[in-house]
């Protein structure tokens, strides 16, 4: 029995070592049909149909083309029950030049918010659907997958998904303080932005 367990463990380890892609998980998550509406945090698929999955090297290679960098990390939620006199100073660091639209990868998203997201990307790309776009959040976060999926569905032809997210970037590069995108913030209510 012990031998079987050990063999199984080695097998799992082997599978993990063999997993080369940046979004690979030890459990092989399949792509959902449409947007992913499950728990926002968890293993993600290795692929995103219609988009290119990039690791750090891939992203670095793309940067000279000035892609639109879209960060969908959730805004920190002000804790319920935190005394009013405690300093609450949330800050977010992202890839330099990224546009931070907190929660834009949530699903479902209210129609007017989905519209606001697409309108914002249209403005950022200057209406050029062939302009490279990169979506990201944090590792094991479905938000950036969903954001990429939305852009593919909207007809963008050079969507890149960077599943390693801010963590994968800051290991070897500087980050910059990012403020929530004002146009996006105006389009969503406070509570929805934190989902």
């Amino acid at each position: 029995m012990r031998v079987i367990a050990r063999t199984a463990a080695l097998g799992v380890l082997g599978l993990m070592l063999g997993a080369a892609g940046p979004a690979d998980s030890p459990v092989g998550v399949p792509e959902p049909e449409g947007l992913y509406t499950g728990p926002p945090r968890g293993y993600t698929p290795a692929t995103l149909k219609g988009a290119t999955v990039v690791d750090l090297k891939g992203l670095e290679k793309l940067l000279p083309e000035n892609p639109v960098l879209i960060d969908v990390v959730l805004a920190d939620h002000r804790p319920q029950g935190l005394p009013a006199d405690r300093p609450w100073l949330p800050t977010h660091r992202s890839l330099p030049g990224a546009v931070w639209m907190p929660g834009a990868g949530a699903a479902p998203l209210a129609p007017e918010q989905e519209e606001a997201f697409l309108a914002r990307v249209a403005a950022l790309t200057g209406g050029d659907k062939a302009k490279p776009v990169v979506t990201f959040c944090r590792p094991e976060c479905w938000g950036s997958w969903n954001a990429g999926k939305r852009l593919v569905a909207a007809g963008y032809t050079r969507v890149h998904w960077f599943p390693l997210g801010v963590e994968g970037w800051q290991d070897s590069h500087d980050t910059a303080v990012a403020k929530p995108d004002p146009a996006w913030t105006a389009a969503v209510s406070g509570r929805a932005a934190q989902r």
Partner: protein, 271 residues
């Protein structure tokens, strides 16, 4: 097993990222971090001058944390007889002021250890307040992220089981003339209020140890003002003067009205 696999996969993906081109010298990032610290410093200490002194307090923290929700911090104070208080601040946490210790006459504040949540790659600061009112700071950079919002991996009910139970482990027999040490463990989820239930997508309200008093006989060892940045099931290592009488008493209270009290007999050769 799931946790182990997750940890392994994170380690592997981290290893896959070649350590690279970190720019040397002053960058925008350095300036931004300095500005952030200055903002926090003002919010906590007002106009008082805080002087850099790497020798007054040494911060021991992993350069890269294995678990961002459980980052071990050690603080060693050089001039321990002249220490009144000690603050620990995690700059990039949304609630940066993690802990404030006030030491009493029964304290031997040479070393304090605690475990905290770290939300992002950040500077952490320790600020010592001396008995003559000086503020001395030291800093260290810690690589960890997601610690404040990391779910506990169990239901809230499960996390609250046995809440308030305490243990106190002594570093050995307490003898006059020898510095005494103890480690306090309090069972308490210390919910940050930033942890989302992945199924309901609701946030568990903040419930954390707000105040903690440790006394030896009639004398205060330390008082702690806590925060959501302290890791769940707080563990605090501290020193005390061995010359006290009676048990060590711990009183803890949280921000939702929970209050717990427990006394521990001091293992002593002379008793």
């Amino acid at each position: 097993m799931k946790r182990l696999m997750l940890a392994l996969s994170l380690t592997l993906s981290a290893a896959a990222l070649a350590p690279g081109h970190v720019r040397a010298g002053a960058t925008d990032t350095d300036e931004e971090r300095a500005a952030r610290w200055s903002e926090i410093k003002t919010s906590i200490f007002g106009d008082r001058a805080v002087t850099a002194s790497e020798s007054a307090v040494k911060i021991d923290a992993p350069a890269r944390a294995l678990d961002a929700a459980l980052v071990p911090i050690g603080l060693t104070l050089a001039d321990k007889d002249n220490v009144k208080g000690l603050s620990f601040i995690i700059d990039d946490n949304p609630s940066p002021y993690a802990a404030h210790f006030t030491f009493g006459p029964a304290a031997d504040p040479g070393e304090i250890k605690l475990r905290v949540r770290v939300n992002n790659y950040t500077n952490v600061h320790a600020v010592v307040e001396t008995k003559d009112g000086k503020l001395l700071e030291a800093a260290k950079f810690v690589k960890a992220s997601g610690g404040c919002s990391a779910p506990m991996g169990m239901s809230d009910e499960e996390a609250m089981k046995g809440m308030g139970e305490m243990r106190l482990k002594f570093g050995g027999e307490v003898q006059p003339g020898k510095p005494a040490e103890a480690t306090l463990m309090v069972r308490h989820p210390n919910f940050s209020g930033m942890q989302m239930n992945q199924v309901t997508r609701d946030y568990t309200p903040a419930r954390y140890i707000e105040k903690l008093d440790v006394t030896y006989g009639d004398a205060l060892v330390f008082h702690l003002d806590g925060d959501i940045s302290i890791a769940s099931n707080p563990v605090i290592h501290f020193g005390f003067k061995p010359e006290g009488k009676g048990p060590i008493k711990v009183v803890a209270s949280d921000n939702q009205g929970g209050r717990w009290e427990q006394s521990f007999p001091v293992p002593s050769a002379s008793n």
